[in-house]
Every structure is written in structure tokens, then in C-alpha cells.
């Protein structure tokens, strides 16, 4: 299957390569410094245009359009959290059914902390986190464990259990809570592995340490989705991966949302993949929400920080 991404790939690469070739070797640019600066602006503008196009054309049909009157599946209301120093201040955003909300921002702005709040691995100092209308900030520990079973989480490092095979890793949530008969467990594991484009017979008996980084991420996604959660959370799903694998993972997240109507929260600073999969983007800056809106709105924004953020990747 040729995706729009694949079709664009070589052409885009060619254009970049010719840009590179012209860069330092261009005799005009060497003599005239101002022209180099102009070119830098031109390149940035091109990238911005490309991002905006990405958001407009390619992914348009992949993204769901939530109706506003639907009830939010995840809602963060005026969250404030601090340890030794303040981490998050007055954070509020909602995720509607079938939406993919990407939380972006510089390192250390509390993006991953927001995920931990949704999972109730942390409790905010003030404010409320609701999941399917239920406030989870005040529930008991065992109740929190039960609520987490409805969420699928993909960790930055995949966090696969290294003492278990790929099969046992994916089967874990099924055996643990769903109490599925063993033949059904196997067919479900095969199904999820096929969904994430892995060959079940090849990888099922392997240990996580025998897999490549991208494969581990995919097994992580398979484990997260095994028990059919309605909400998926991703912590830096594309960090440390090569551009091609990044594309695969991004498409996978979009596919999950498109085919299974899963609501997702993705924490990332890979702007390109964020623009490909997000229905809405939440930008954190200095512990607060600086911007919330669609990728198109973000690309079109004249805000100085957003411009810097998009230009500086």
C-alpha cells in the first residue's frame, strides 16, 4: 500500500538534498552573508509550509472530527502540582472520544507528569482529573488500579517485562484481568501483533532484549491495546527512532484511532509526527498551557514562542 507519505518521500528528500548541496558550496552565499540568512528564513518558511500542508492534506482523512457536544473521556481541570518546585500550574484540557491530543513542549515542562496524573500515578495538589466523568483524584488505591485497566499506556522505553517473552508480555493484561481462556488469549495476541505489523510466529517467543527499538515500541503498543482500552496514552512514542520507524509508529497510532476509535493522549516533541496524527495540540510552556488548538491553527499562529518552537526542531 502506498501512503501519501511514501509518495512524497523521495521528492521531498531530493529537494532537501539540493538545498544542502547549494548551502555551503554556493559561491554567492559564501560572498554574501546576508543571502545565507535569507536562505535560512526561506528554509524555515518551507518547513512551516510543509508542516501546514501535512496537517491539511495527507492526514485529513485519517483524523476524526469529534463533535463538541460529546462528553469528554479525559478532563483535566485546573491542575496544579509541585514537588520541591512547581511542576504544573493551572492546567486544563479535555480529550473527546476518538480524539488524538498531542501534548508538546520543551523538555522538563511537565508533559510526562500530565500523563502520570491521568494514570493516577500522581495526585495533583489541587484541581481534578476525570476519566469518563469519574473524578479519579480522590479514589482509593485499589479503585485506581481498577480504573487503570481501562487505559492503555505505551512507555518511552516500552517498559516490556524483560523476564517474559513477547507473547507473555502482550497476554499479561488479558490473563491478569480479563481472565480469557488460553486459546482466545493466543488469538488475541496474534491479532494485536498483526495490527502493529509484526509477524506473530517470528516474534512471539522472543525476549524483549532480542528486539530492535522500533519493534519493542510496537510490542509496547500491542500490549497497551491488548485489552481493548478506549483510551491510549503514549509517552514519547517516537523518541530514539529513525525517521522511517518514526513514520511507522505515527501511522500506527493514527490507525488505532481511525479503526478502533480510540481516544489518545500523546506526549511528544517530535513536531512532524505530532502534526501528522494530532486532532488537537496542547503546547506547554513554563508549567502552563501556552496554546491549545488544531495543528493548522498552530502552524498559522503568529505567536513568537510558537514560531520559535516550530522553527527550532
Amino acid at each position: 500500500m502506498t501512503t501519501p507519505d511514501d509518495r512524497d518521500g523521495p521528492r521531498e528528500a531530493d529537494r532537501r538534498a539540493s538545498d544542502d548541496r547549494r548551502g555551503p558550496l554556493d559561491p554567492d552565499a559564501a560572498v554574501d552573508g546576508r543571502r545565507t540568512v535569507d536562505r535560512e528564513y526561506a528554509v524555515r518558511a518551507a518547513i512551516r509550509r510543509e508542516l501546514a500542508e501535512d496537517a491539511h492534506d495527507d492526514v485529513e482523512e485519517e483524523r476524526a472530527h469529534p463533535t463538541v457536544d460529546e462528553k469528554a473521556v479525559i478532563e483535566l481541570k485546573n491542575i496544579t502540582l509541585s514537588f520541591d518546585k512547581p511542576i504544573l500550574e493551572d492546567i486544563s484540557f479535555s480529550v473527546f472520544p476518538g480524539e488524538t491530543v498531542c501534548v508538546v513542549g520543551e523538555s522538563g515542562t511537565g508533559k510526562s507528569t500530565a500523563l502520570k496524573l491521568i494514570l493516577r500515578l500522581l495526585v495533583p495538589d489541587s484541581g481534578a482529573v476525570t476519566i469518563d466523568g469519574q473524578d479519579i483524584t480522590s479514589v482509593s488505591y485499589s479503585e485506581a488500579l481498577r480504573i487503570r485497566q481501562n487505559l492503555g499506556m505505551v512507555f518511552q522505553s516500552a517498559a516490556l517485562f524483560d523476564s517474559m517473552t513477547v507473547f507473555d508480555n502482550i497476554a499479561y493484561p488479558l490473563r491478569e484481568h480479563v481472565k480469557m481462556p488460553s486459546d482466545q488469549v493466543e488469538s488475541r495476541v496474534r491479532e494485536t501483533l498483526e495490527f502493529v505489523d509484526l509477524e506473530p510466529d517470528e516474534v512471539m517467543d522472543q525476549l524483549p532484549s532480542e528486539l530492535s527499538g522500533g519493534m519493542r515500541k510496537r510490542v509496547g503498543i500491542a500490549r497497551g491495546m491488548a485489552a481493548n482500552p478506549k483510551i491510549m496514552l503514549y509517552d514519547e512514542p517516537t523518541s530514539g527512532l529513525d525517521p522511517l520507524t518514526t513514520g511507522t509508529i505515527t501511522r500506527l497510532i493514527s490507525k488505532l484511532q481511525r479503526e478502533l476509535n480510540v481516544s489518545s493522549v500523546v506526549v511528544s516533541h517530535d513536531i512532524r509526527s505530532v502534526f501528522r496524527m494530532a486532532t488537537r495540540v496542547v503546547l506547554l510552556y513554563q508549567r502552563r498551557i501556552h496554546f491549545t488548538g488544531t495543528p493548522e491553527e498552530m502552524a498559522a499562529s503568529e505567536d513568537r514562542y510558537i514560531r520559535d518552537f516550530l522553527g527550532g526542531f
Binding site: F83, D84, L119, L121, Y141, S142, L145, R146, R148, Q149, L151, M153, F155, Q156, S157, A159, L160, F161, D162, Y172, P173, E176, H177, R223
Partner: protein
């Protein structure tokens, strides 16, 4: 069960004239008390989970294998050579009094009451304690503990309870084996080196066991004393290892720190607790 984050040293509202040293001391002392409290609550919670569902039976069997069966070689070696060296040393002393027939009694008393439990405990602390701390610690730093929580499993129930139970069950068994091979080691030296008949040796072994008195007519008090200790040591080793493992911070280096701390803390606790247990049991079991 990560330590609750606390304010920087001296952040408590002290009057300004209190020197910084005392503020730091105050905060350090609070940290220590908190650590003891968390340690105790981890132990209690892990035992509580042993009596409620879900119970991870497969993990328990795996841990019994890892803690008990796989520790057999070092425990056998330690016990055997300790028994031999005890017999050897005592033979030198007892020969001067012409009392070599007491070698069996001496070896038995030392092995069953003290050396068996303590040596098995120290060996298990080194081998098993470090293993548990390293495993749970690396699970912590690679987010696997968080992954367990997010998959709706209580990490204490899944990781700590099976390990603590396995240690509680296997330590007394390992100790019995250590005691036995130690006494056999003494027998080898007594027979081959001193020339004491094997029959006489085992007769004195039994005399020694019987001399401590019996509980419920048939259970020798020495056995009870010798089995309460490893039971306590087993619990201490497993809870210490799990505590340091779960509180690991700072990547792979942190795993190393947790492992070292576990072995040091567990070993010291075994020696200190051994003294107090002996004191208590001397009072309880003295006829």
C-alpha cells in the same frame, strides 16, 4: 512505594536563629524515621496480600526455586566447611583435656543454635538479597514497575509478596540443611583426624540436642530456637531487598547502590537481630 518527596533540607519553619546544621539534622532524622516506617509498612502489606486474592502462585514457586533450590550449593559448601573447621579447632583444645568425645556436642550446639542460621542468612543475603534488589531496581529504572501499575497490578502484591513468602518458607529449610551438613562435616574430621568412632559422635550429637529440653515432649528446644531465627532472617532479607529495589533512583548506577545497600543492611540486621533473638530465647527456653 517511592519515598514521598520532601522539601529541601531546612525548609521547615524554624526560627532564624536555629543554625543550618540543626535544620539539616532535623530533616535527615525525619527522612530516617520515614524510611523505617515505609520499610515496616512494606513488610506488613506484603504479608497481608498473602491472604487475599489475586495471589500469584506461579511467582511464589519461581521465587522458592530462586531463593531456596538455587542457594543450595553455597549453603552446602558453607555448612560443610564450617562444621569441619569447628571440629578441627575444638579437637585441638579438647585433646589437651582428653575430652575429644565432646566434639560432637560442641559442633551441634554451635551449628544448630548460631552458625547454621547466621551463616545461611548471610549467604542468602549476599546471593538472594542482591539478586532481588538488582532485579526490582532495574525494573524500577526501566519503568517496568510503573508498567505493572498501569496494567492494574499492584507491584507489591506481584513482586514483594511472593519473594517475602518464599524467603520465609525456604530460609528455615536451608538452615536445617546447613545444620545437618555442618554436623556431617564435624563427623568427617572427628572420625578421620581425631579417630572418634562415628557411632559415638552421633550419640553425643543427640545428647546435646536432648539436653536443651523438649517442647510438647517431642520437639527439641534447640530446633525451635534454630528455626525461629532463619524465619525472621528470611523475612528481613526479602523485605530489605524489595524496599531498596523499589526505591531505586538514578538509572543503572542506582541499581548498583541499591544492591550494595541491601547486602550491607541485611547482613548487619541479621547479626544484630540474632543477638536480641538469642537473649529472648535464652529466657524463654531455659529449663
Amino acid at each position: 512505594m517511592a519515598l514521598a518527596p520532601s522539601g529541601p533540607a531546612g525548609s521547615t519553619n524554624f526560627p532564624l536563629y536555629v543554625p543550618a546544621f540543626f535544620r539539616r539534622l532535623n530533616s535527615a532524622a525525619k527522612q530516617k524515621v520515614l524510611a523505617v516506617q515505609e520499610f515496616a509498612s512494606l513488610g506488613i502489606q506484603s504479608l497481608r496480600f498473602a491472604f487475599s486474592r489475586p495471589f500469584y502462585r506461579t511467582d511464589l514457586v519461581q521465587q522458592m526455586d530462586a531463593i531456596g533450590v538455587q542457594s543450595l550449593p553455597i549453603v552446602l559448601l558453607t555448612g560443610f566447611f564450617t562444621g569441619m573447621v569447628l571440629a578441627l579447632q575444638s579437637s585441638v583444645q579438647l585433646t589437651t583435656f582428653g575430652a575429644t568425645q565432646y566434639i560432637g556436642r560442641l559442633v551441634t550446639a554451635s551449628m544448630i543454635r548460631e552458625l547454621g542460621p547466621v551463616l545461611a542468612g548471610l549467604m542468602v543475603a549476599g546471593r538472594v538479597g542482591s539478586g532481588i534488589a538488582a532485579q526490582i531496581g532495574s525494573m524500577r529504572v526501566t519503568e517496568q514497575i510503573d508498567a505493572l501499575s498501569t496494567l492494574g497490578t499492584d507491584p507489591i502484591r506481584k513482586l514483594v509478596t511472593p519473594r517475602v513468602l518464599a524467603a520465609l518458607i525456604m530460609m528455615p529449610i536451608l538452615t536445617i540443611i546447613t545444620d545437618f551438613v555442618g554436623i556431617v562435616g564435624g563427623n568427617v574430621i572427628a572420625t578421620l583426624y581425631v579417630g572418634l568412632p562415628t557411632g559415638l559422635y552421633w550419640q553425643t550429637v543427640w545428647e546435646q540436642i536432648a539436653s536443651g529440653g523438649f517442647t510438647f515432649r517431642y520437639i527439641p528446644n534447640d530446633f525451635i530456637q534454630g528455626l525461629i531465627k532463619p524465619f525472621v532472617f528470611g523475612g528481613l532479607i526479602a523485605v530489605t531487598a524489595c524496599y531498596y529495589g523499589l526505591n531505586t533512583k538514578g538509572g543503572t548506577e542506582g541499581v548498583g547502590v541499591s544492591t550494595t545497600r541491601t547486602v550491607v543492611t541485611a547482613s548487619i540486621m541479621i547479626l544484630v537481630v540474632d543477638y536480641f533473638l538469642t537473649q529472648i530465647m535464652l529466657v524463654v527456653f531455659t529449663p
